[in-house]
């Protein structure tokens, strides 16, 4: 372990530094460039450059800043995922912001800053680092949610998200402070060691655990801390909703897995209990609430809540002291798959927003098969993937989570989970019904902008590729959880 700050440490965070640099450049360029679309391209360049540095770090396992940060396969995988999510979100924003007449340079800068925060989150091995990077991400996202400043719903969503987010950060911080009290250190490894020494049901560790869980559940939108999600998803610019539902969600899960796996594994019997209850609630409430939604953004928000419930299953799988390898692979796999599929879905929703059509109701999809058959068929594939139907990527992801449960003898939970997955097809099919089996009243055509086409193509390729031949991606996921 390097005791002092040196050049190697800088090399380890080069991808993050690139993003920050480009964020600054964008803020300045905003003053000079008239056509804001160019800023989008600059930010994509920044992401590409950061990605290049990231690729060079592949397979390297180092601890930087005397243990505050770690560069390992897990963080590498997630960083890649955040960059991909950010790039796809920027691509689908290019035209959309013009239509909303809110095309400003800081939009792209904020996405880069948020992504930078996420990348630090994935690598944090220390409570302070974790918290600061979490807030970097969160504050940038609060602003982005309220980016349609002329739109009341967007402002409302931003304020709600901010107030609840700040509150939950406080709760999380309280849990962290207790952990510090127990360990006398903010390092995950020290905390794990200290918890090992504590008696089985030590009240202080229990309070710390509960506070920590409450804060984390808010971030991943688990029931009963999910109420902000539909409002924030509905009010935010659709491109940001897409970004939140993939990157922010993945980052929150990366943080959650990191804490549960590296810091509080000794408390596993207790948190498995909490997670089991919350996961069942999250899946069921998300699915049931989604059934009655008429606004497609709210519907997908509830669907994303239920997906958080499935992902938690990956942490539950395992015995009383260890996580189940299949289950953890499932988490990583699920978030990877979910990123592409979800971007695909949101890209179609973004495309529905046209000059004077809001395009946010399920009914707005009516008769899409006549207006734009390709978009309808792609949407169908993405929705089937979200529902976990083979041969799409969503099935492979769900397969891993369910397999983890069966392998570690959580059969009852597995039954609840698969029934939830089956029921969820109902509301996805509602969208399908609108697209394929209903006639539309308005005849405004639907044209896909080049950015949307690119995003859809990427999403489609990965959704089908992972569905038909998942081997390379399974290897990647297993590597990310140190299995190969």
């Amino acid at each position: 372990m390097g005791q002092f700050f040196n050049l190697q440490d800088l090399g380890a965070i080069a991808p993050e530094l690139e993003l920050m640099l480009f964020g600054m450049i964008l803020l300045i360029a905003d003053l000079l460039v008239e056509n804001k679309k160019w800023l989008g391209f600059i930010s994509l360049g920044g992401i590409a450059w950061s990605g290049y540095f990231l690729l060079r770090l592949h397979g390297i396992h180092v601890t930087a800043y005397s243990g505050l940060l770690v560069i390992d396969e897990f963080s590498w995988f997630f960083k890649l995922l955040f960059l991909v999510g950010a790039a796809l979100a920027i691509i689908i924003s290019l035209k959309y912001l013009d239509i909303e007449r809110e095309h400003h340079g800081e939009y792209y800068a904020l996405i880069l800053f948020a992504t930078m925060g996420m990348m630090f989150m994935a690598g944090a091995m220390d409570l302070i680092t974790l918290y600061i990077s979490l807030e970097t991400m969160a504050i940038a996202t609060y602003i982005l949610v309220g980016f349609l400043r002329g739109n009341q719903r967007s402002n409302e969503a931003s304020l709600k998200y901010f107030l609840l987010g700040a509150f939950s950060s406080g709760v999380l911080l309280y849990g962290m402070s207790l952990l510090y009290g127990i360990a006398g250190s903010t390092r995950f490894t020290d905390i794990a060691e200290a918890l090992e020494q504590r008696p089985g049901s030590d009240p202080i560790s229990m309070i710390a655990l509960v506070a920590l869980c409450a804060g984390l559940f808010f971030k991943i939108a688990a029931v009963p801390f999910h109420q902000w999600t539909p409002d924030a998803y509905e009010g935010a610019p659709t491109s940001i909703t897409a970004y939140m539902s993939v990157a922010v969600k993945a980052a929150s899960f990366a943080m959650m897995v990191r804490i549960f796996w590296f810091a509080i594994l000794p408390l596993r019997p207790h948190w498995v209990l909490i997670l089991t209850v919350v996961s069942i609630l999250t899946m069921s409430v998300g699915n049931i609430a989604a059934m009655t939604q008429t606004n497609i953004k709210r519907l997908l928000a509830y669907s994303s809540i239920s997906h958080a419930g499935y992902i938690m299953l990956g942490l539950i799988a395992g015995n009383s002291t260890e996580l189940n390898p299949t289950g953890v692979t499932g988490i990583v796999m699920y978030l990877f798959v979910y990123t592409f599929t979800n971007i695909g879905v949101w890209a179609v929703v973004v495309a529905l927003r046209r000059k004077d059509i809001i395009g946010e109701q399920v009914d707005d999809l009516n008769g899409l098969i006549y207006k734009h058959p390709t978009a309808a068929v792609l949407m169908l594939i993405f929705l089937l993937s979200l529902a976990g139907m083979p041969p799409t990527s969503g099935f492979i992801a769900k397969y891993y989570l369910f397999a983890g449960l069966i392998e570690s003898d959580h059969s009852k939970l597995a039954v609840i989970a698969v029934l939830n997955a089956a029921v969820s097809i109902y509301f996805y099919l509602r969208i399908v019904v609108a697209m394929f089996m209903k006639e539309s009243n308005e005849k405004t055509g639907l044209a896909l902008s080049p950015g949307i086409v690119v995003a859809l193509a990427v999403a489609l390729i990965f959704t089908l590729w992972i569905g038909f031949y998942p081997d390379p991606f399974i290897h990647l996921a297993r590597e990310a959880v140190f299995l190969s």
Partner: protein, 528 residues
């Protein structure tokens, strides 16, 4: 030719899908081209499946033949693994045989969104064939689910007034069953390495890693703990029973049938329902023999309820299609009764009756569809005396009615008779209830025939109905021929079934043939 012979199963299964991809590039306005093309694809699909029937080695019909195997997803241990034995041979022939008839029957019935319709029909055909040929459980599951989507669209887009409700009900029911099936599959997948570790012969043949190989599961069946079998049987039961459908999971069936377009009903009744029974035959019984034995009373009770209840409900239906749909419930009850008699006669009859049901019920749905196309109603009360204006139609309807109620010389008789023999060998009461079902079946079918075909043709709308045209005859005549073939000379069918059936019986009741030596000699196929 060699290549064709080695890969015949994949070619047969993916031929319709390849045809679908070509179809996608056709102009959707050119309906004639699309229709000709799809008919050509499914008809050639039938032709290329014919060699299976001739090349199939009947001496080893209990062994998997035409096997192809490639690694597919290495990290999961899932392979592309196909092969057929005698049971699957018949089901595949049924599928490739009914496919062209169903497609041909939609020629004039489907005018709206023709291209999508035929694309889904082709996709469905591949999905069904894939289910039957898979020897890898993972691959089986993929096909099993894939097939839901085209069927959902066929009902949902081209169906009757309540199509949306029927389509979602069909999808949800089947999906709930299949996810539980998935858990059962996973349980087998994870228990395999532990069992293989104790039994070197399993490792030698199938390796020690977790596998989805169905043959490995068959081989490990005897070592599976009773408790485990119990649970997995239950999981499989939900998955397959919904598909069959067995009472009380049958409620999706009448809705789906009534709303589906004619071709959809033909495929649904003819092939889709057989997937459930096939699941029991291929997976539940041979992999979980102890579990199977434990659940025999439940299965038989449900089968008998389905036979009697389905028949009673069918009798009261005012709608022709709904009547035929409920008769399906009753007939599938017969199939399940024979299967869970778990003796050679019962199983032989059960499998043959599956084919028979595909033939007769498929034909009845076509017959109902033909009259619906002319009159746009299926209400029995609207008809009467049709035999005067549509004599050919009435004749074929009569033949198929007789086939459905099990009149000797026609296919239904052979199946029902063999099933009854099998049931009787186990328990007199099973046969009594089965017999009651046959009587009720005769009652509702003959009553239907009498009300629609006989009497005076009084309804002015029915005065000038046209008799069958050449295309409609072409969809029905092959079914009539096969109905007579099975009725008069069923030996070729029993011949391919004997060995796989005996193997099944031997799995469930080890030593069955030694204990019942005189009976075993009278295995149905050889005596007839």
């Amino acid at each position: 030719m060699d290549f064709f012979r080695q890969h015949i199963l994949s070619i047969v299964a993916f031929w319709p899908l390849a045809g679908m991809f070509v179809l996608l590039f056709m102009n959707k306005e050119n309906k004639t081209l699309i229709r000709w093309w799809t008919n050509l694809v499914v008809f050639t699909g039938f032709l290329i499946s014919l060699p299976l029937w001739f090349w199939f080695d009947r001496e080893s019909s209990d062994k998997m033949q035409f096997v192809e195997r490639f690694t597919w997803i290495q990290s999961l241990g899932a392979d592309f693994h196909v092969g057929i034995d005698g049971i699957t041979l018949l089901l595949i022939m049924l599928t490739t045989f009914l496919g062209p008839l169903a497609v041909l029957s939609s020629w004039s019935a489907i005018e709206n969104r023709v291209k999508e319709y035929y694309a889904f029909m082709l996709m469905l055909q591949t999905g069904m064939l894939g289910v039957f040929i898979s020897l890898d459980f993972f691959m089986f599951y993929v096909f099993w689910e894939v097939m839901l989507v085209p069927m959902y669209f066929l009902i949902g887009v081209w169906g009757g007034p309540r199509r949306l409700y029927a389509a979602i009900k069909f999808f949800l029911y089947t999906l709930v069953g299949s996810v539980l099936l998935l858990l059962g599959i996973l349980a087998l997948y994870f228990i395999y390495p532990g069992i293989a570790a104790q039994h070197p012969e399993l490792v030698a043949q199938f390796g020690s890693a977790p596998t989805f190989n169905v043959l490995a599961f068959h081989a490990m069946a005897q070592y599976l703990p009773y408790n485990f079998q119990w649970w997995v049987f239950l999981a499989f039961f939900v998955g397959f029973a919904i598909k069959v459908p067995m009472f009380p999971f049958h409620t999706w069936l009448p809705d789906a049938h009534v709303e589906a377009p004619t071709a959809g009903s033909v495929i649904l009744a003819g092939v889709l329902l057989k997937m459930g029974t096939y699941g029991f035959l291929r997976f539940s019984i041979p992999i979980l023999p102890e579990g199977t034995k434990h659940f025999v009373p439940m299965m038989v009770a449900l089968a008998i309820i389905a036979i009697v209840y389905g028949a009673l409900v069918a009798m009261m239906q005012p709608d022709m299609k709904k009547l035929v749909a409920y008769s399906s419930v009753s007939h599938m009850g017969f199939v399940m009764l024979g299967m869970f008699a778990l003796n050679p006669n019962g199983l032989n009859g059960s499998i043959l009756q599956q084919i028979n049901h595909g033939i007769s019920t498929g034909a009845l749905f076509l017959i109902v569809g033909i009259i619906y196309e002319r009159r746009h109603t299926r209400e029995i009360a609207q008809f009467g005396g049709l035999s005067t204006v549509m004599p050919v139609y009435a004749t074929i309807f009569l033949i198929m009615t007789m086939s459905s109620i099990g009149l000797p010389l026609l296919n239904g008789f052979i199946g029902e008779f063999t099933i009854m023999m099998g049931a009787l060998q186990v328990n007199l009461w099973w046969a009594v209830f089965g017999g009651a079902g046959i009587v009720l079946g005769a009652a509702y079918m003959l009553w239907l025939y009498q009300r629609t075909m006989f009497g005076k043709n009084e309804n002015p709308a029915n005065q000038n109905l046209l008799d069958l045209n050449a295309r409609e005859l072409a969809t029905l005549i092959p079914l009539v021929i096969v109905a007579f073939w099975i009725g008069l000379y069923p030996a070729p069918f029993f011949k391919v079934l004997d060995k796989p059936v005996n193997k099944l019986v031997e799995t469930v009741h080890p030593g069955y043939f030694k204990a019942n030596a005189p009976q075993a000699a009278r295995v149905v196929g050889e005596t007839r």
